[in-house]
Amino acid sequence: MKAGSISLAMPVRLPVPLILGLCIIGGAVILALFAPFIAPYDPILQDTTNTLKPPSRAHPFGTDNFGRDVFSRVIWGTRVDLQMGLIGVLFPFIIGNTIGAISGYVGGIVDTIFMRIVDIVLAFPFLVLMLAIIAILGPGIGSFYIAMALVGWVSYARLIRAQTLVLKHSDFVTAARSLGFSHGRIMFRHIVPNALVASIVFSMSDVVLVILSGAAVSYLGLGVQPPTAEWGIMIAEGQNFITTAWWITTFPGLAIVALAFGFSMMADGLGELLGVRE
């Protein structure tokens, strides 16, 4: 996209994927916020007279082995998984962008050290390093967030460092420097706001990765713990009943696919709108 092609006089046409993504994510946010009012049943209330019932009018997604309503659990799960995706991206985003911007701006030995660390963390398979950290901290959602922060920051650091290296030599930074602005001001008021666009677009597709990882870690039993209604756990619990009750695993999985699709579309559309190619 050419510079200045968005002007105030010209109405901005939003890309279709962006609108689609916003609708899906908006829907998920509403489900998460108003889960208690939308879900017809209590997500953890057991009803032993009503176990493993196939989808019906009373239970659109059927019931699980404890007689819990799968539909209500999927809705309540939106809360947990959406939160997992957003918090799981927030910490790597802050840490990675700070380190990357400093590394690129300062350069020299600081840059070399940080980039070697990035290389080493990237050498580890993402999920394996995360599982190793969770192994030491002990299973739980807190451990997942810490592991995510320790492993996920590297992509942001790399991305913003590359942007900073380019912007460092641009005219407006030279102008700011000749005005005698401090390094801190130049970095955080002039470079970072411009360099952040690529990171923001990437963070949308990163949410997909984080949600999938969070659900996978919970599926393995190392993340969110039962009886919390979380999609990964629901799939793990339902796996014991695949021969008789397909609905327990199918619906939470579809929920993950839908939410992930929303964020993928959002990333595509945002990239198109802001002229960022991954």
Binding site: R116, I117, D119, L122, F124, L127, V128, I136, V208, I256
Partner: protein, 312 residues
Amino acid sequence: MDRFRFVLYRPLQLLPVLLGISIITFVLIRSIPGDPARLLLGTKSTPEAIARIRAQFGLDEPLWVQYLYFLKNLFNGEMGTSILYRIDVVRLIGERIGPTLSLVLGSVILAIAIAVPLATAAARNRGSLIDHTIRIISTAGLGFPAFWLGIMLIILFSVKFDMFPVSGYGDGFADRLHHMVLPCLTVALALSAVLTRNLRASMIAELSSDHATAARARGLPEGMVFWRHVLPNSLVPTINLLAVNIGWLIGGTVVVETVFSLPGMGQLLVRGIFTRDYMVVQGVAMAFACAAVLINFLADILTAAADPRVKI
């Protein structure tokens, strides 16, 4: 010969990364509360054995000296003993490497077999309904959780149609192949979503490149231009893409091995975490990391061999 000089030079560049991997695993395992000697020995921890291990690993020395001992033991192929299985971790990994290796290889082959036709159809009919459909499917495919996809395949092919076994590794070559179809398909479907998107992009770039135009100008039919000129050139970046995604692929196999109860390294890792078998966790994490580094190195060589312009 010049472009192959890096074959000698690149391994030297790998050294700092491999050292870094060993430092991270060392720090990780030393962050566990408790006596490392006891951890290392597991249930065999008699006072004499603890004293021996303390001497062997220099546990009374400063941390950096301990790290050097750790490195020395690593070079001798000693990574401690599994608490659960009571055998050497290196041997344990050797026993479990088979299923993981066949899962990775099988799913890469299947993924290419799925992605090449899809990307071809999309790139050659750019902007058409086919192209849009394939794009939407592959975008949606990026968000498919591998563990869920695996279970869906089990419900469809094992429970409903009884074509493939639900789980396990099987005995004998044919039986194993039969057992590996669904796990490989699971990983391959997830992987082909990434591959298709990238392969399509590089095919479109190649289709409008000068050498393709030149081939058309020589009067070559479009099909020939595609198969002889466009496809081979678009596959080169795909090799790299596979290598870059190897970490993700390994993560996928860890989860899929659990879904299908395959006795591979991923299952070993997950069990190790649950049973607090830290030497196993350390060993498997390190083995996976080194494998990923090695595969990226091999991909660099392959790319250079396939594309004379590449200099490293």
